[in-house]
Amino acid sequence: MLVSWDWLKQYLDLNISEAEVCDRLTLAGLNFDGASTVNNDRCLDLEVTSNRPDWLGHVGIAREVGVLFDLDLKVPAADISAISNGGACSKIVQLEDEKFCPRYIARSITGVTVGASPAWLTNRLNTIGLPSINNVVDVTNYVLMEIGQPLHAFDLAKIEGDVISVRKAAAEEKFMAIDHREYLLSSDDYVIADGRGAIALAGVMGGKETEVGDLTTDLLIEAAQFAALPVRTTSRRLKLKSDSSYRFERGVDPEMIDWASRRCCELIVETAGGEVCEGRVYAGSQPHSRSSVTLRLSQLPRILGIEVPEAEVRRILEKLGNEVVDQSAGSITITPASWRRDLDREVDLIEEVARIHGYDKIPERAGVSLSASHQSDLDRIRNKVSTAMLGMGFDETLTRSIVSDVWSKAFQGWSLSEPLTTSMPMVKGEDRLRVSLIPSLLGARRNNEKFSYPEIDLYEIAKVYLPKSKALPDERYMVGITSGRGFYELKGAVEALVGSLNPRAMVTTIPYTDPLFEEGQGSHLTINGTTLGYLGVVSKSAAKAFGLQQKATVAELDLTALMKLAVLVPQHQDFSTHPAMNRDLNLVVDEEVSWSRLQDISTTAGGELVQEVTFQEIFRDPKKDGPGKKRVLFTITLQAYDRTLTGEEADATISQILAACGKETGAKLLA
């Protein structure tokens, strides 16, 4: 809200500096956002919160200053009896929907001379950034900025017929506004209409047809109340914001509408001549009587932590324009001011007292007791995962939760349901709630490839949103990982990550086919039969779809699965202090025999002496071994808990392993 300093002084004997006034206003809720000099005046920019439409006029701001500095407010009487003739407004006003328009006041003025505004009027409007148009329009704007009530002046002669109706627009009804642009209305919009059609978009803007011009002599002055929600809907849909719509959206003072109408007429006659017709039109109902609110003084220390003297409480409430209807043992009952629709509960009055009395009077009180707080398991796991990922050289990233349709379907390992969509996109073309972090991470790779960064190793811990019928979706935290390293490097990183949470957890990997993965290079990871996640080499077609030039690997792990396997407080296990013995085996096996198979057999057959079965290398020598064979070189680490193993014991164990491998896979030791 832009405020003219000169204007403000009209309502108060203000002998206080601008700086002090702005300071106090800021601490009373009217945040001072800066000031500028316009001609001989000062323009103050004050930020008005949406609950205080009464501050959207100079009188309201002046009232606040009056409360803060204990000054009396002088509001013009707007008495028009001396400038009225015996005539009456010639129109009939019909309200189709009193919910939308509870009251509508029309007055007419005859014999005006439209022309330039006097300097005082032009100057004040200029100070607050409004251009001067003519003496009639300027007055309507002036009164709007004075009291916050929008007004509109129609050229009475151009209104067709005797009836003015406030009605819903017809679908696709056309309306030419005073900005000389044509708007296509919908049946949700409300218009002011004459015998021909819409002459104003209710609460938003007047129409070109009935615009006041140089030749206008008779006026119809509209002062009405329109409901907030429809005005906002229309204003937003048509992208047509005005000072009027802004105020109707926040609510006008129903008891000041007539004052505004009279004030407008008074100033028009003063600046443009003419006479007001004494008979006004009042359509709609009188404002409801306001219910009283009681403030128990004991509630002030209970909420604010300080006592405020009863006399001060009363002074504040009264000065704000509320009427004290009762003051008895420990409580004050008031009828709120008509412009304060936001005051209808005790706590509203507590806030008013606090605001004016001053929040600086509230001390810091160490009344809160000590309390234990604990880190959630989710946070602990997240920290552990991050620590592991950092150590392995991955940077954490954060990406948008909403993605494009194509990205939302690029990987559907977690859900095959149609991804959820939002009613509007987050950025152009992106309105799907992601079901996997992988596409976002591939997008992140592309962002980095653009700059030719050599190492793009990223991870993100964020949610995916899996649709669930008739319920809030299943939101699951995932750890998404992408790397320029190979399959086994990334698999190693995942294994190390799992190992950091639980050294004994065994990740089982089985092949997994998905268009995202290169054929035969995707995998499904499980732990004890539960899905942990997916890992694979990005296929050429997927890389192309994401605009990637370089090879990439990706993995996505379910954080809940990691939480399940994690050991948050590891327990010491006694370990052998005797030397371990390593034996290398070089076995020739069929190509189909997987490493995990050999490892399982060796572990099982070797018994408790086997500490580890470590893969070393695979060779292929079809000439020697025949086609479809491979040589698998691996190391068996043997150790006993209570003694140093003898060579014989080791030999015996190795023989068992060889025998089992031979029996179950046909493996032969390369002698």
Binding site: L27, G367, G393, I402, M424, M426, L472, G647
Partner: protein, 343 residues
């Protein structure tokens, strides 16, 4: 001599030698060690030298494999000797003089990852609040009307519920119990969920991603993070709020900080205030706060005559950007590794 025989011979050699070296280690006897070295690695008549003769006898096509294996065994025996010698003498002092290296060459750096600055900021805020007794809680990012609006004293006609200002989901409202679904526009939703399921006292911080449609530019993003504190108990006042926020600000900024309240308006608190912190002679905007609105307390089944509470909320991005001098919010969500590696 067949390849297999040759390899067998070498394997046996390693096996036997390793037993001998182990024996030397066990007895800490350098004489046994030296004897073993001569026996196996001796230049004139060591067993390895002897075995090398077999190399000449394997067939020509097997020679590469046999040669490779021989070299491996030789290296292995030398390693076994060296490691035994090191163990017995307690170090590699027996080694000859090492050659000088260019110490000015760059080190081989292991790659270390970086934590996103937003995560770092959140962690710090959580940590401070944790020390003040507030536990961090999370909740769903997709919410219903009840938790995002109704229970927070934001009625249907309130502008905050405008479809253009929220990411509503295109799902049928029926069956979800709470009306429409939307991406939460504030983390206060979590506070409602906690209060619905817990009796006072409550002392929590809720945090996470929130969403509001906005044209993305240097200072606006349609997805951002909030952290909100809530304390509900008997006898909680605005003086307590001021105290806790001052402790928070002092911890975050370090040193003497002053707190100032300016009146403001939020549907879910009353009185509502903007909080400023005075630090190094400037007032910095810190966030919004206030006393929990009685309607909110009623909505979760608390009696406003019995308990009071305060709440405050901060925008994580703003704090993070100011702390690290980040001048464009889009950097936070662009995944540019050059950006990420700075933190």
């Amino acid at each position: 001599m067949s390849l297999n025989d040759f390899i067998k011979q070498l394997d046996d050699l390693v096996e036997a030698a390793s037993h001998r070296f182990e024996e030397a280690i066990k007895q800490v006897d350098s004489q046994i060690l030296e004897d073993t070295r001569v026996e196996y690695l001796g230049a004139k008549s060591g067993k390895l030298k002897e075995a090398q003769k077999g190399l000449g006898k394997v067939s020509k096509e097997d020679k590469p494999v046999a040669g490779k294996r021989f070299n491996e065994v030789k290296t292995r025996l030398e390693e076994l000797f060296q490691s035994a010698a090191d163990t017995i003498t307690g170090g590699s002092s027996s080694k000859g003089k090492s050659e000088a290296i260019d110490v000015t060459l760059p080190g081989k750096r292991p790659r270390l990852g970086h934590i996103h600055p937003i995560t770092q900021t959140i962690d710090e805020l959580k940590d401070i609040m944790g020390r003040l007794g507030f536990s961090a809680v999370e909740g769903p990012e997709i919410e219903d009307d009840w938790h995002n609006f109704e229970a927070l004293n934001i009625p249907l006609e309130h502008p905050a519920r405008d479809p253009l200002d929220n990411f509503y989901l295109n799902v049928a409202a029926a069956g979800t119990g709470g009306g429409n679904q939307l991406l939460r526009s504030q983390t206060s939703t979590v506070q409602i969920r906690v209060m619905e399921n817990t009796k006072p006292p409550i002392r929590i911080v809720s945090l996470g991603r929130v969403y509001r449609p906005d044209e993305i530019d240097a200072t606006h993003y349609a997805m951002f993070h909030q952290i909100e504190g809530l304390l509900v108990d008997t006898n909680v006042t605005m003086a307590d709020l001021k105290y806790v926020l001052r402790l928070f600000a002092s911890s975050y900024l370090g040193g003497d900080v002053e707190i100032r309240f300016r009146p403001s308006f939020f549907p879910f608190t009353e009185p509502s205030v903007e909080v400023d912190m005075r630090w190094q002679d400037t007032w910095l905007e810190f966030g919004g706060a206030g006393m929990v609105d009685p309607n909110v307390l009623k909505a979760v089944g608390y009696d406003p005559e019995e308990v009071t509470g305060f709440a405050f909320g901060l925008g994580v991005e703003r704090l993070c950007m100011r702390r690290h001098g980040i001048n464009d919010i889009r950097y936070l969500y662009d995944s540019n590794t050059k950006f990420l590696a700075q933190f």
